[in-house]
């Protein structure tokens, strides 16, 4: 499977090389009349933390960085890999040495050529303890040779397994074969950085007056907490096939205000506040859209020594998971087209075949009956009700879900639930130190592959806050790291998950937007929602 996927990727790359121009032009259908004003304005939830590709860590910032900089590979509208600065790559038989061929017409916005040395500089920079990027963990995850030792400060930065064989050839050596490595090169941490500019301006290099970038756009205006503007980079190698002239991000914290401003015509895109989708879909059928996203929403049991004894019994965990009516949660509470979750990994993940989980196939009445039976078998009943505390971080949306879930458990199982909400950082600290009984969690995939979710179940994972520990599952995940057929392994992991239910999957996210119908080519099929302004266009109304 792995080699097959690799072949597929190569096929896409080759296809693109043969029909490169046609494919790039192909995103505008022949019958579309383009609008005169090619400006796309969207709501940004919060001010981005940085536009330095090696430092940025938030979603808002990554969206900007993907426009300003271009890495080795890009994602097409369907999420498939397409060439970026690299025209393609070769890999050795062990899958440990990747050689990327860079295009010779890639330029920085100051006219300089983008070379393999820019990538070497950027990747070393990302691992450099002195820069202290929070995304050093991503460099570790990429298994680049010596990355871990460099980050620990045990080896100098120039021993990182990256080399510029010449200006147009970039070679990466991995310490272990990684089936999804090329996909990771679409992540902003791996984008090139302009060494001269950074050395000249230091920390100030990302200011609009200093920044030099190699993507389809340059940052022309930035008023923090208000707006940022990116405009066409005439030096971009594919500028001729770029349509949108300008992308404006307006920071609007309140989603209801954002919706009002969208309806007043100030925005082309905004998120739909929870519960409003059905009404908006009715009033604006062309504009209210919902599609699957690569994130899950779950509650985790504390299975460590500090957790309640009741949760150590798999029957209790299963009973709680069974008796949640996910249909009510997704259709009545969230009402935004979110899929119900019965597996940990969203079905939308590429190459993931969800197992036929028993719970998913049952009717809710059957689930409830089984839940009651399991709980009775575990020794809980009207005389000895199950009681526990359910913890979530303070937010209206989380509260609605928690209240609904606790009511379902109370009515169906007679359980007594105390709700506890906490401010975000306190919540994280409490959950991370196992100071909870049942806690909310959510995870968004860093790349489109099941391991980005399933690694959370690994007993060694720093994100496994419930301290779930299953040796068989750990072994399967280990095997998947170098296997050529990961799909079967991931399905097995999900089967164990369904058997043991260390967490309660509740729903998988959906992207729920109001999108002006004159925006063309929004990548609804890209489950990671990695979008590029260069692929969008505005249609004449």
């Amino acid at each position: 499977m792995k080699s097959f996927r690799l072949l597929c990727l190569l096929a896409v790359v080759c296809n693109f090389l043969n029909f490169g121009v046609a494919a790039a032009n192909g995103h505008i259908p022949a019958d579309v009349k383009l609008a005169d004003d090619q400006t796309f304005t969207y709501r940004m939830l919060d001010e981005f933390t940085s536009v330095d590709p090696q430092i940025v860590e938030d979603v808002s910032g990554s969206e900007v960085v993907r426009d300003l900089f271009e890495g080795l590979m890009n994602q097409a509208a369907d999420g498939q890999l397409v060439p970026g600065v690299a025209t393609g790559y070769e890999v050795n038989d062990d899958n440990t040495v990747y050689t990327f061929m860079l295009r010779d017409n890639a330029k920085w916005s100051n006219g300089d050529q983008v070379t393999a040395h820019d990538f070497v500089f950027a990747w070393q920079r990302a691992a450099d303890p002195e820069l202290a990027s929070p995304y050093q963990w991503f460099v570790e995850l990429m298994s680049i040779e010596n990355a871990a030792a460099i980050i620990k400060g045990e080896q100098p930065v120039d021993t990182l397994g990256v080399k510029a064989l010449d200006d147009q050839t970039f070679e990466v050596t991995l310490s272990a074969p990684l089936p999804y490595f090329p996909q990771m090169t679409t992540h902003s941490t791996t984008f090139p950085a302009p060494q001269k500019v950074i050395e000249q301006h230091g920390d100030e290099w990302t200011k609009t007056e200093n920044i030099v970038s190699n993507g389809a756009y340059v940052l022309t205006e930035h008023l923090p907490n208000e707006r940022s503007v990116r405009e066409r980079n005439p030096m971009y190698w594919d500028n001729a096939n770029t349509t949108l002239d300008k992308t404006v991000a307006l920071v609007i914290n309140d989603e209801n205000v954002a919706l009002t401003r969208y309806l007043a015509g100030e925005l082309d895109r905004t998120e739909v506040p929870a519960g409003q989708f059905p009404r908006l879909k009715k009033e604006y059928p062309q504009e209210a859209i919902s599609f699957p996203r690569l994130c899950n929403y779950y509650y985790t049991f504390n299975l460590s020594d500090s957790g309640p004894a009741a949760f150590k019994d798999v029957r209790v965990r299963k009973a709680l998971a069974l008796s949640i009516d996910r249909k009510i949660l997704t259709e009545k509470v969230l009402a935004g087209g979110q899929p119900e979750a019965y597996t940990f990994t969203p079905a939308a993940v590429a190459g993931f075949a969800p197992p036929a989980v028993e719970m998913a196939g049952m009717s809710q009445a059957d689930r409830d009956a089984k839940a009651k039976q399991l709980l009775e078998e575990a020794g809980f009943g009207p005389d000895k009700p199950l009681s526990f505390e359910m913890m979530y971080n303070t937010s209206e949306a989380h509260k609605k879900i928690a209240v609904a879930m606790s009511q379902m458990w109370k009515q169906k199982l007679g359980a007594e639930i105390t709700l506890a909400n906490m401010e975000w950082k306190v919540f994280l600290e409490t959950r991370g130190s196992q100071g909870f009984e049942l806690a909310r969690g959510a995870w968004c995939g860093d790349y489109n592959e099941a391991s980005t979710f399933l690694d959370l179940l690994d007993s060694e994972s720093g994100y496994n806050d419930g301290k779930y520990n299953n040796a068989e599952l750990d072994a399967l995940l280990d095997e998947a790291k170098s296997s050529s057929d990961t799909s079967v392994l991931y399905t097995k992991v999900e089967e164990i998950f369904a058997d043991e239910m260390p967490m309660i999957p509740v729903y998988h996210y959906a992207g729920v937007y109001m999108m002006d119908s004159d925006v063309g080519n929004w990548p609804v099929d890209n489950v990671q929602q990695n979008w590029y302004s260069k692929d969008l266009y505005k249609i004449a109304e």
């Binding site: 202290a132 570790e140 980050i151 950082k425 600290e429």
Partner: protein
Amino acid sequence: MLGYAIRRVLGAIPTILVLIIASFFLMHLAPGGPFTSERPLPPEVLANIEARYGLDQPLWKQLWDYLCNIVLRFDFGPSFVFKDRDVSDIISQGLPITLTYGLLSFFVATLIGVALGVAAAIRHNTWLDYLAVSLGVFAQALPNFIMGPILILIFTLWLGWLPGGGWNGGHWPYLIMPVIALSTSYMGSISRITRSAMLEVLNSNFIRTARAKGLSEAKIIWRHALKPTLLPVISYLGPVFVYVVTGSVFVDIYFSTGGLGKYFVSAALTRDYSVLLGITILYGVLTVVVNLLTDLAYAWLDPKIRFQ
């Protein structure tokens, strides 16, 4: 009076110092830190980050370094969250915005509030009085987090007259809604305080004397009644000034103005220690200065008050 002012300013230094120290330790007492996140960082990565920002040092050392940097270099450090910017950057960008709409709101609230209050007192128990009192109560009861969305709904969506948010260099259409939202409730309070103070003054002996002398009503109000009326208003205006200039988080959130209020609140939530401390110090200094100005204004308004 100059000696008094100098003594007050010098006396403020220990106050500010205590404020910094207390804020510093309270901030560090709160669970979680700037780098606590949904994805806990591996220990080696966290160690690098903490070393970069000096968070690996003992707390007293961090505090000492922080104070030294302020005193010797006027450097408030880098933001832990907005990694491309430092605290001085954030304050110098946000403060002019906050001051612009804050000061405007302050003057609007004061002028209209005092005018309404005076009018109500002069025309006591007439329709004008009832209208002013109702307006005042209504304005005071309407919190700005309700005002914000309602204004946007009316002026942006329904009427289409004003932009729904943004700053645009403080161009006037962008200022109208923030100023209305921020000034309304203070205007209500000011009008009520002015009205009751004016009523009291109008019933006092010296006004009766002035009337007996045959002075015109306008002269009585302007020359004799207004100054003593303003005394309680001034004591209210001092804190309001600080609130209006600093407590603008709702304006920043609803109107995307980019002011300091939003930074202050989000810095507390994200544990952006340096930004939080920087803005706290700014607010502390502002409060001390405004209190001093209020006290000096008393002396000007009331000849009975003299400073030793």
